[in-house]
Symmetry: C2
Subunit: 406 residues, 2 copies
C-alpha cells in the first residue's frame, strides 16, 4: 500500500476537534473554515508556494490567475512535472468533473471550471469533463433519469464558462461508459487493482454500502488514463493534470496508486479550497440548501437579497462600534467571496484595509460584492442562454479534438 | 432480505462433509458426485418432476429433450410460469452465458447450449448469450485482451451448436457494455440495490476482494432485464428464462431478489447438473486441467486416447471378476457421458443393463462412448470451421432479432 493510500486512511481516524473532509462532507469547527495547512499535511500533498507560482509565470509568460495567486488553489501534486512537460513542449491534458446535484450550478461550482478555462487557454491543451450522473443516482435518493437530466443542465452552465469547443469534451458517465468500450475496459482494469479494504479506508465504506458505490471510484479514476478517450488521444498515453476541490483528492490518491501498475503516469493535481456557504466558512456552499447558496440562475434581485440577508458578516453590531473596532475579513463572507471574484488585487487590498479599520461598513462591503457578482452572473446567464441543444451536442459528442503537440 | 438470499448465505456455512458448490468451485466428497437433491433443498429451487415434463410435452407438442428427461437438467425456478406464458402466446426470451476460460470449449460447456438450442427451436424465441470476459480478467491472472480473445474463440464454438442467427445475439461484456448505455444504466440500477453484505453472503467475498469482483454480479444479472437490449426488445419489458449449470444459481438468486424492485419479473431458471471430469464425478470437467477434459477441438485420436486412458471406470479389475460382479454405472464416467450424448433411450438402457450385469466389458463400453462422441465432435468441428469472421460478426452485432409475439 502506497504512502498516499495510508495517508488517506489516517483521514478517517480524525480527532473530534479536527475538520472533516471527504467527497461527501466538509465540516469545520472553526469560523475561519477548514485548516488547509493541516489538510496538506494529512493528505500528503504539497503547498502551492511562491516558488511554484514564479516558475509558472516564467515558463508560461502569463501572470498567474488570481485564484492561484490568492491561494484559492492552495495545494498540488506533481505540478512541477506538468511545468517540465510544458517547458519541453511535451503534450498533456486537463481532466476535471462534476457530480450533478441540482438543475442549476452555484457560484462555488464555477471555481474549478474558471481555473480550468484559464489553464486550457494558457497551456493550449485538451480538457475532458466528467459528469458523474452515475455517482449521483447511487448516492442520492433520485432516479437515474433525474441524475442524467441534471448532468445535461449542468453541462450548459459549464459550457457557459467559455471552454473552447475544439478542445473540450464533456461527457455524462451514463452515456459515455455505454458508448466507449475502451473506457469500460480501463474501468475494469482499475477495478482489478483496488480491494474493498482500500476503498473502505479511503472512502469510509462499510458492509452495508451498495456495490455500485464500492465500484464507483474506478469510474472517476478512469479519465486519468488517456486511452479512455480513443477519439481524442488515438490510443496513446498522455499525462494529465486534474484541477479539483480538495475534497475530491481521495479519488485521485487512489488513482495515483493504480496508474503506475497499469503503465500510466500518475495524474498531477491542483487542489482548491472550498467555496464557503453564505452563512459562514464552517461549511461549503451546497446546492441542497438554497438559503446558503447563490445559484448561477438567480436573478439580480435574488442575489442582492441573499447577500444582504444571509451573507455572514465580520462587522460589528452597531455602526459606532464598527467604526471603532473594525471588521474581521477572515470570517466575513462578502470579503471572502470578493477574493474569489474580484480580479483587481489593489482594489481588493484597499477593501481589506478599509473593512478592517472600520472605514468600510458591512452594508457598503455587501454592495461592492453585489456590484461585483451581478455582472458575472448576468453574463453567465446570457452565455448559458446561447447554449442550445445543438451546442450541447457539439461539446458532448465523442470526437477528435484539436491537440497541439508543438 | 428474501428467503432466496438467505438460502444462499446458508450455502457458505456448509458442514465439512457436504458438497461445495459456488460459481468458481465444485467439490464433492462422494464418487457419485454432488448430491443434487440436497442442493435443491439448500438453494431453495424446485425439482424438475415428471408432472412438469408431462406438461412441457403437452403444451409444446414435442417430446422433451433427453437432457431433460434424464434429469441432467434437474432443477428449476418458475418454469411453470414460462409454460403459462407459452400456453397463452405471450412472449419471453432465453438468456444464457459463458465465462470464457480457454481458447476451446470442452464437452461439458456444450450441455447448456445444446438445451438452449432445443428450447429456442421449440419455443421460437430470441436468445441472448453473454460472454463474461470481464469476469475472467477479474478472476484469473490474465490480461483483459486475452479474456476478450477467448470470448471470441468460444463464440465460434457456441455458434457451431447451431443457433438461429435471426434469433440469437452473442455479446462480449468488454464490447457490449461499452456499446449500449441502456445496459450500463441497468447495471447501475442493480448495483444500487445490492449491498456488500449481500454479495459477501452469496459469493463469499471478503475485505481483500477487488472491487471489480464485488460489482461484477450486477453485470451477470443485467441481461435478465430485457431493456438492456434495446435493439431486440425496443425498450419493452419481457420475462426471461435462464438455462444454466446449477453453480450459476447464486448470481440469479441475487437477480431474482433485485428484479421486482426494479419493476421486472423474476427470471425463470433451468439448472443442469455438472458434466463430470474424466477422472470421476467428484469434480466437474475443467478447461484448466487438460487430462480431465475433452475439448471440442480434440482430434478423434486424442479423444480415443483420453477416454481409454483417463475415463474413470466402474468396472472390475479383471475380466473374470467383471463378468461375475458386473460394473457400477453410477460411478462409471463412460456410462455417465453416454447419458449426456446418446439420444436413444432404449440403447442406453440396454448398455446400463449389460454393464451392470457384467455382460459388457469396460473396454467395450469405452468403445461405444468413443463411437458416440467422435461423430458429434467431428461434426462440431466442421460447423465451427464454417464460422468465419463474417459469421461471427453477424451473431455479435447488436441488431434487431426476429421475435414472434403470437
Amino acid at each position: 500500500m502506497s504512502s498516499e493510500i495510508v495517508n488517506s486512511i489516517n483521514n478517517i481516524a480524525l480527532n473530534n476537534d479536527e475538520d472533516f473532509v471527504d467527497p461527501w462532507n466538509v465540516v469545520s469547527k472553526s469560523d475561519t473554515g477548514v485548516d488547509y495547512d493541516k489538510l496538506i499535511q494529512r493528505f500528503g500533498s504539497s503547498k502551492i508556494d511562491q516558488e511554484l507560482l514564479d516558475r509558472f509565470e516564467k515558463i508560461t509568460g502569463k501572470k498567474v490567475h488570481h485564484l492561484l495567486r490568492r491561494g484559492v488553489f492552495f495545494s498540488h501534486r506533481d505540478m512541477h512535472t506538468i511545468l517540465n512537460l510544458y517547458e519541453s513542449g511535451k503534450p498533456f491534458y486537463l481532466y476535471t468533473g462534476r457530480g450533478p446535484s441540482s438543475k442549476s450550478m452555484h457560484l462555488g461550482h464555477l471555481i474549478p471550471f474558471t481555473l480550468c478555462k484559464w489553464l486550457q487557454d494558457v497551456f493550449n491543451v485538451p480538457l475532458v469533463i466528467q459528469l458523474t450522473d452515475d455517482e449521483k443516482t447511487l448516492w442520492k435518493d433520485i432516479k437515474l433519469e433525474e441524475a442524467h437530466e441534471m448532468a445535461y443542465e449542468n453541462a450548459k452552465d459549464i459550457i457557459a464558462v467559455g471552454f473552447d469547443p475544439k478542445k473540450t469534451f464533456i461527457f455524462s458517465n451514463l452515456d459515455y461508459i455505454g458508448q466507449c468500450p475502451d473506457f469500460y475496459r480501463n474501468m475494469i482494469r482499475i477495478q482489478k487493482c483496488v480491494t474493498f479494504n482500500q476503498v473502505k479506508g479511503i472512502f469510509g465504506f462499510d458492509d452495508s454500502t451498495v456495490i455500485g458505490k464500492i465500484a464507483f471510484p474506478a469510474a472517476q479514476a478512469t479519465p486519468a488514463l488517456s486511452t479512455s478517450f480513443p477519439h481524442i488521444f488515438n490510443g496513446k498515453k498522455f499525462p494529465c493534470l486534474i484541477p479539483c476541490a480538495i475534497d475530491q483528492d481521495p479519488y485521485f490518491r487512489m488513482t495515483r496508486d493504480v496508474c503506475p501498475r497499469l503503465g500510466f503516469q500518475k495524474p498531477a493535481l491542483l487542489h482548491s479550497k472550498f467555496f464557503p456557504a453564505l452563512q459562514g466558512a464552517q461549511t461549503k456552499m451546497s446546492a441542497s440548501d438554497p438559503n446558503s447558496t447563490i445559484f448561477c440562475c438567480d436573478t439580480p434581485k435574488q442575489l442582492k437579497n441573499k447577500i444582504n440577508k444571509h451573507a455572514f458578516s465580520g462587522g460589528q453590531v452597531t455602526v459606532e462600534e464598527h467604526r471603532k473596532i473594525g471588521g474581521n475579513c477572515d470570517v466575513d463572507i462578502s470579503y471572502q467571496y470578493l477574493r474569489f471574484f474580484l480580479e483587481d488585487d489593489d482594489k481588493l487590498e484597499q477593501i481589506r484595509k478599509d473593512y478592517t479599520s472600520g472605514a468600510l461598513l458591512t452594508g457598503e462591503l455587501k454592495k461592492i460584492l453585489i456590484d461585483t457578482i451581478t455582472p458575472i452572473i448576468v453574463q453567465h446567464q446570457e452565455r448559458r442562454a446561447e447554449v442550445t441543444d445543438e451546442v450541447l451536442k457539439e461539446y458532448m459528442m465523442p470526437r477528435k479534438l484539436e491537440f497541439d503537440y508543438k
